[in-house]
Each structure stands twice: as structure tokens, then as C-alpha cells.
Symmetry: C2
Subunit: 161 residues, 2 copies
DNA sequence: TATTGTTATACTCTATAACTATA
DNA sequence: TATAGTTATAGAGTATAACAATA
């Protein structure tokens, strides 16, 4: 039987190495997304907004600002860009004349459909030839890490509102 | 015995769901890094440059531009900001009078040391209570995904130079 | 001639503050 | 009085193009 030592110190190099590998994946995925979106004429912030309109239907800029956690002024700029490039339109709100509803154009909808196909292809490429058991083990680790991270962020940013 | 169906279609929802979980982790880690860096008065681009100087020692802006894959003009801006906030200095190149060497200040070095400690703490938080087998399985999946992603990016960006 | 880093200019994303129109 | 979205202004990060000093 071997004597015990605090795992904290003993295995630290393996843990920081694991973190480095996760961070490398973050960089790779970021590059991939940016490259893929650029092919559609979109940036990450604009795609994020577009995706919200896709998921939740026509909605006001105020709602989008809250969901994106940016200022209303920022949403004005993003929507301006998406209108100029033909992805969305501003429509009158049926009851509130202060508000505008951001809606998808046909081009916006078809772009999102194409992006959804790309997402499926990417998932197939990344996970397609992992065995069911391997995938399950990977997702277990992933969920563990994500949970811990959420706790850490929550602790750092006390009681948001 | 059940009849077989193409895994591609049968398990697609599980795969895209896995991708979504990875993407969520990317977002969480990005938020965590940005928050942590802000506490030191740094942004992601500036921290990246700082880390290169930490790892490779004093180096020219040209070398930094290549490593960061941004334009030399951009490096001028980043270094300006890091000089103003006291993380680095511009020194004369010993033999090439066109070039400047970017070097860490004491403040820059001590900040990097603190960030390194934070990185260890984060690794401990994220992976510390995974069993050795769980960690191994997670890293296996991670490496698999990263490899596939590198292949995909390489295919998308043909023969860089 | 080629290279290093800069000035000049511009675009995107982000923020705050003040303002208009409406609720 | 409060809310939705805008104009006005500013700063960081990114890019190209033209230029100065040096190799």
C-alpha cells in the first residue's frame, strides 16, 4: 500500500494540462465558427441575434438586448447591419408604437437553415465515430466541468439582481 | 436482434446535443476568462500578447504579429495599451535599429505569475474531483474532437502559404 | 529592394449619456 | 413618470494603404 499525498499537489500537472487542452478546443471551435459564419456574411454577434429571432420569433430590440446582455444602443447597431445585409427587417409593433419587431427575411431564414445543416455536419464530424460509451463518458466529464464553471462564475458575480 | 439503421440519422439528435453542450462550455469558459482578466486590467488580446512575451522572452512586434496572426499595425495598438497600463516596455533591438523588443515589466511578470496560480486553481475546481478514469475518458473524447476539428479547419483553409 | 514599425483611415462591437416619441 | 429606440460620442480591436527609417 502506498502512502497517500494530497491529490491537489500530486496530480496538479495533469489537471492544468487538461485545462490547457480544453482551452485549445475553445480556440479551435471559435476559429471554426467564425470562419463558417464569415462564409455566410455574418459575425458572431450578428449570428447570435439572428439565432434568437429564429428561435423565439419576431421580437422587440429591448427583448433582444436583454437576451444578448448588451445595451439597447448596441442592438440598434447590430440590427442596422443585419437590415443592410438583408437578414432581417424592422416591422411595426401591433400595439406599442414605440417598439419595433425584428423579423427574419427569407434570406435570413434560409441562411439559418443552412447553418443548422452545417451544425449537424459538424456534430457528425466531431462525434460520429466515437462509440456510444465513449461519447457518454465524454459528456459526463463535460457536464461536470460546465457545472463547476457555473458555480465558480456565480460565486464571482454575486446575486445578479 | 434489432434491424440496423444508419447511425448518421439514428443518433443525430444525440450528436447535435453533444455539440450544443460543448458550445455552452465554450461560452462559459470565455466569460470566465474575460471576467478573470478584467480583474487584472487585461483583455483577451492583450493577455494573449503578454503571455507570448512571458513564454518566449523579449521579442519584436513583427514576431508577435505572426504569432497572434494579426497585422503589425494591430500589434502597435496592443503594445501601446500594454505600455500605457504598465505591463510591458519597448526596448531597443541590440542589432536592428528598425525593430523594438517588447519586454515584461515587473508588474507584467507578477501579473502573469498570479494568472498562472489562478489557472491552477481553475484546473483544480474543474477536474479535481473527477476520478482518474473519468478524467482519462474525458480527455480521450476531448482529443478526438480537437483532432477532427483541426482536420476540418485544415480542409477549409487550404495550404496556408 | 525588402523589412520594421508608424501615421492615416475605416469598420465592427462595445459603452454612457442625452433626447424623442410614445405608454 | 417610465419605456423603446435613436442621435452623439468614445474606446478597443481589427483591417488596408502609404510612408519613414533602416537593413
Amino acid at each position: 500500500m502506498q502512502f497517500t499525498m494530497s491529490k491537489t499537489h500530486e496530480l496538479q500537472p495533469a489537471l492544468t494540462n487538461a485545462l490547457d487542452q480544453v482551452l485549445e478546443l475553445v480556440v479551435l471551435l471559435g476559429d471554426d465558427m467564425q470562419h463558417s459564419l464569415a462564409g455566410h456574411g455574418l459575425s458572431l454577434p450578428r449570428a447570435h441575434l439572428l439565432w434568437l429571432v429564429h428561435r423565439n420569433g419576431p421580437q422587440t430590440q429591448r427583448v433582444l438586448a436583454d437576451a444578448l446582455k448588451v445595451t439597447p444602443r448596441n442592438v440598434t447597431s447590430l440590427v442596422d447591419g443585419l437590415v443592410d445585409t438583408g437578414f432581417v427587417t424592422r416591422e411595426r409593433h401591433p400595439t406599442d408604437r414605440r417598439a419595433t419587431l425584428v423579423s427574419l427575411t427569407d434570406h435570413g431564414a434560409s441562411t439559418l437553415a443552412a447553418m443548422d445543416e452545417s451544425r449537424k455536419d459538424l456534430a457528425e464530424l466531431l462525434f460520429g465515430d466515437l462509440s456510444s460509451a465513449q461519447l457518454k463518458a465524454f459528456l459526463h466529464g463535460l457536464n461536470h466541468v460546465a457545472s463547476r464553471l457555473r458555480e465558480g462564475l456565480q460565486a464571482a458575480q454575486p446575486t445578479e439582481r
